[in-house]
Structures are given as structure tokens and as C-alpha cells.
Subunit: 387 residues, 2 copies
Amino acid sequence: MPNIINNPNKVLNEIAEKASVFEGKEAVRTILREIFLSGTIGTKSLSRKLRMPIPTIAAIRKELEKIGLISREKKGAILTEKGLIFVNKALGITYLESHSCKKCESTGIALPHEAEKLIAKQRLFSERRPKPQTEIDQAFGRPITAIRRAYLMLENGDLEGREILLIGDDDFTSLAIAQLKTNVKITVLDIDNRLLNVIKEISKENKFNISCVTHDLRKPFSEELINRFDVVLTDPPYTIPGLELFLSRAIQALKDESGRRIYLAYAHRPPKIQLEVQNSITKLGLAIQQLIPGFNLYEGAEMHGNTTNISILSTTDSSKPLFTSDYNEKIYTGELNPTVREYQCKNGHVTKVGFSLEIRNIEVLKEKGCPVCGNADEFTRISRRKI
Amino acid sequence: MPNIINNPNKVLNEIAEKASVFEGKEAVRTILREIFLSGTIGTKSLSRKLRMPIPTIAAIRKELEKIGLISREKKGAILTEKGLIFVNKALGITYLESHSCKKCESTGIALPHEAEKLIAKQRLFSERRPKPQTEIDQAFGRPITAIRRAYLMLENGDLEGREILLIGDDDFTSLAIAQLKTNVKITVLDIDNRLLNVIKEISKENKFNISCVTHDLRKPFSEELINRFDVVLTDPPYTIPGLELFLSRAIQALKDESGRRIYLAYAHRPPKIQLEVQNSITKLGLAIQQLIPGFNLYEGAEMHGNTTNISILSTTDSSKPLFTSDYNEKIYTGELNPTVREYQCKNGHVTKVGFSLEIRNIEVLKEKGCPVCGNADEFTRISRRKI
């Protein structure tokens, strides 16, 4: 115990190494601090609050348990007496209050009272979405996410009298924008006809005016989409080629002048990868005007803690797409970082799942059922490795 | 009038051209929108809200008056009938509510009740600051700015148990941090001994523990400052060389590991220059994790609308200072963008003021008084031009 207190950095380092997490000792400290602040907290909540992947948190939590700093209660992890001493005395963390803004959830946008109604309606819209196709990186944003984006753009003067393009819209943000009843002109581009058909249906029922275009972004734009829009919103695949392709097309779609804005949703990444993202944005000649962590919340996408950030980018005199013609490289996460996962059904049969295998992902497995016994739910993931 | 409504972009463009503002037609639209939202609003408030320089706003306002879209009331600019029609019909702007968060002023940090006391005390501290030396880009942050920064760092886990370095501290943020009474270790570095002496005095009176080092950042660090700190806060000169020098020294002062944080205050800039800033940050291998516009408020610095943003940067495996030894280039705004201003005293005598002249700036002129009649206040700026 005295050892633990006298050399906290060594302890944090050892835990990080044993858990073999990319994020290092600071992640261990951050998790301990959050457990201290919360009292008891589950892995999913930790993941969302700290914007760290669930596997990272699970691995660290396991090591913290082993060394006796935390224990597991029904509601989640809790500090042991030893853990509390470590946090208070060795790490010097004693302050218990949080001052992040509850009113706007630190997004800067305080939703007005009438937003409740819009969210309720958006929820009804969202329930009509077809199942997400994870192989093309679909992950459905929650109704509040779409509504909050719409208010953010309205606040920034990017809806009224504007022409906006949504490059991909599995989050149904177009419908949230239409709900605000400004005189914006909305165009939605998506590769997935199933989604566009639902947007068209809902549009018709609600007398929204949304123009839908089926388009694979790997193909170049037709003339009428080029140099036309005031604003673009996109939530691209969270890969560098995906980002660069989506932003390149966004620049082409925007009017050819400085100060046009792109709202970019992207995953929270460790500094090293965040720097790569920033490098791509800089290379494209786009200026980051604002970056709001935790702005977007999702139904699925647990690997990213169910939350991503939003950046507001501005075009400059030197904005330039990296690609203007056909794009033939890989862009989706499953293509670029193929993994094989093993799932066990409730009868104990193990099935391998992966982008290059017969069964691409868990959604397909659930649809088809276990190849041995046909059982179609209660699958548990028992392993995951990169190919 | 029909012309104006049918071709709003032409109108906006013409106004921007006549006002010869760098920011273009979007600035004109933004100003009109803000006047519409506010009812009546003065130039200073417009500057703060829109984060645009006062001269830009003054020039556009003048042109808007000429064309009859706004008129000037006691409390500031107001839309004329024609202006209101233009904003509503031609620009399509009719939505009157603002949803930016009042609780945290869209900074994400909601100050607790007890912060009032800390701000009051911080105000007493601030009143003891010597006059700002504008030639080394001093511009004093308001008491709330220092307190808000302290809470932001506390919230992010960057104070408790940490060692923090303030590279320059004309904002007295060190004292705000000390007021929170965490077990942080604070070191302040400044070129200006007058400031450090006041910080030392106040520290002694309040039993704060702040270590002060007089240092010209153009000189390299001594060994004991290198690879030592967990966190750096800096509000550097708003020039690219100033930024690159300050961030280079910050990287050296931080522990040599990924994930160490720099809180960087910097002016809101037009996209073109913001991209240059971002390019420098990227070149230094620093990842932008958050960017909060309008976070810092200042007493003076009216050229920047009295407000700047704060970025939270993280070190990565590839963070590297651009300079490690003596730095002999220019870094301050007055050195890099020298201007000559003409001031008229109340008796009508005109004096030239500038970085390379006998009287460097208005502060010196006020101190010495008019070279002709000795009158020492009520100077009016009548011209300003770059050399």
C-alpha cells in the first residue's frame, strides 16, 4: 500500500501495460477519476462519458479489479477503500463536483421547450428506418442528435435562405431540418435507396420539401450538384480515405468561395489518429472554426462510446478536393480494418463473422440465425481480432 | 426596391466591395441578421457577438446606412422598413429566437454559485495589474475569463495532482487556479517583471503557492523546465511566428509523452488565416481535441472584438518543437504588422504614433501628453495605415 501511494505513475503504467491498451496510463487515471466522481458507474456510461471504446474500458476495469482498487457492484464499478485512498492521496483527486453544463450538455445549444415535440416526432420518423448496414458504416443517430444539429445550423445562420446538402443521411437530419420550417432548400445524397425511400415517404406525408438523390460517393458528381450549395453536413466513414473522399466531394458541392461551411461528425480518436484527421482537413484547405466533443449520440456504434464530435469547417481560398473523378480505393471501416469476430449462440455453437467471410457481421448472423441450431438471438461475442 | 429583393447576393457583394472588407458578402449578411435579431445593437456589441473586428463592422454599417437598409439610433443600428423587407424577403431570415446556451455562454462550463465570490476576488487582484504593454501584445483578460479557464481545466482533470505551466500570464489565470485550492503545482513564466511582482505579492498575501520565473521566451529553457509539466496554458501573440515559438516551448516544457494538454487562447481569424494557424499546430504534431469560440473576454483588445477562442491541444507521438535554441525573429504584432496611426488631441493637434516611431502607441501618448499642448486625454484616432 505505501508503494502504491508513493509511486502512482508506476501503478498507472503497470495497469495500462497489463490491460495492453493503446491509450496508456492517462486512460487509467481518467477512469479512476470518473468512478470517484460517479460513485458507481457501468462500463457503457464510462464509455460515453469518457469517449473511450468499451473494450479499452473493460480491459482496464479488469486490471483495476485484480489489483483491488475497484470492485464490481450491481450498478457498475465502485472504488474500494484502497482505491479511494489511491485516488485521494496518490493521485490527489478530491474535488467531487462537475461543472460541465447540464442545460446544453456542453454543446453550446440549449434546446427550447418546443424541441420536445420535434424530438418526439423525429423518434417516430426514426423508428421507420430499415436496419443499419454496418458494412457501409451506417450507425443511426438518435432523434435528439438530428434535432440538435438542426438548431446548431439555424443558430449559426446556416439554414434560413440557404441551400444545404446532406452527404449521407442515415441519421435523418434532413427531416429534423425540415421540421424547423425555415425556407432552407434541402438535398439528400445517399447510396442506400431504402433510406431515401423512407425519407421520401415521410416528406410526402408531412409536406416537407426534400430532394433525394441516390448516389455512390465514389462516383463523381453530375454538373448540377457542383458549386451549388451554401452548407454541407456529413457523418462519413471514420477512416482517413472515407473522410478525404467525403470532404473532397463536399468542397466540390459547395459554392466556390471562402467562408462556406461544412458540418462534420467524426469519432473521438486518440491524439495520434486525431492528428491524422486534422492533417487531412488541413491538406484539403479547410479551417476548423469550432470543435464540439460529444455532440452526436447514436443508437448503436458502441465501439465509439455511442458518441462523436462535430466540427464546423470553413472553406478558404485554398480549399481543393483531393479527388474529382472516380474513386476506386477502399473507404469503409470493415474494408480497411477487417476483423474476425467469434459469436456464441445460447446453445454454445461458435460462428465466425467478418467482412470477408460468408457472414459479414452480427446483423446478418442474427437475421440468418446460428448455422448449427438456427437460434436467432442471444449471441455473445467471445473474441475479436484484426486480420 | 424590386431589384434589391430579386438579387440579394449582388446587393451584399456591392456593400462588401464598397466597404472594402476582407470578410466579403457573408459578413454583410451576418451583420444584417444580427441587427434583425437584436432590434438595436451598437458596434461594440456586434463586434463581440460576431467576433469581427470593429473597423470591419464600422465600414459595413456605414455602407448599409448609405443604401438605406439601416439607420442609426441612440442605442445603435436598427433596420429601416426597407432593411426589414430585405432581411425577411430577400435573405429569407425571419426566425427571431437564439438558442445559444445562456447558462454557460456556450462555453460548456457552467460556473457554480460560489464562482461569484472567486470572480469578485479576482477582480480585486486584476485591479492591481500595471498598465498593459501593447507593444508586447499584452491585453488583459477579464476576471471571469481567468476563473472560467480554471474551472475548465479542473473539469478536464488537468489541475488536481498536476504540475501546470503558464507561458505568459498577463491574465492572472495563475491566481484564479490558486483560488480553487486544489493540490496543483503552478509555475508562471513571463517576460514582464512588473506582472510577476504583483503575482508574487498577491500570492504571499493569500498564501498561494505559485512559482514565478522571469523569462524571455525567445531564449531557450533551462534544464529544470524541460519535460516536466502535465499541462500548459498560453495566450501567445496572435502572429504565426509568436504562435509557433510559444507552442514549441510548450512542447519542450511538457512531459515527453502522448496525451499531455495545451490550453491555447487565440484570436478569431478569417478562414484563410485560421487555416495558417491550424497548419502550424499540425506541423508541431499537436491534435486539436476541442475548440471553443468566444471563451475568453478581454478588457481591451477591441480589434479582436474583445473575445478570443480556446483550443485544447494534445501532444502526440510526433509532437516536436520547431525551435529549441535562441529565437531571433520578430514575434509581436507591432513588429510584424507595423502601422502608423494619427491621433488628434482635443485642441486639434495631430500626432503620429507607431512601433518604429518615437511614440510607440496610444498608451505612451496618453502618458506623455500631446507634444504641442501637453493635453493628456481625449485623443481621437483619425487614421491608421500599414507601413
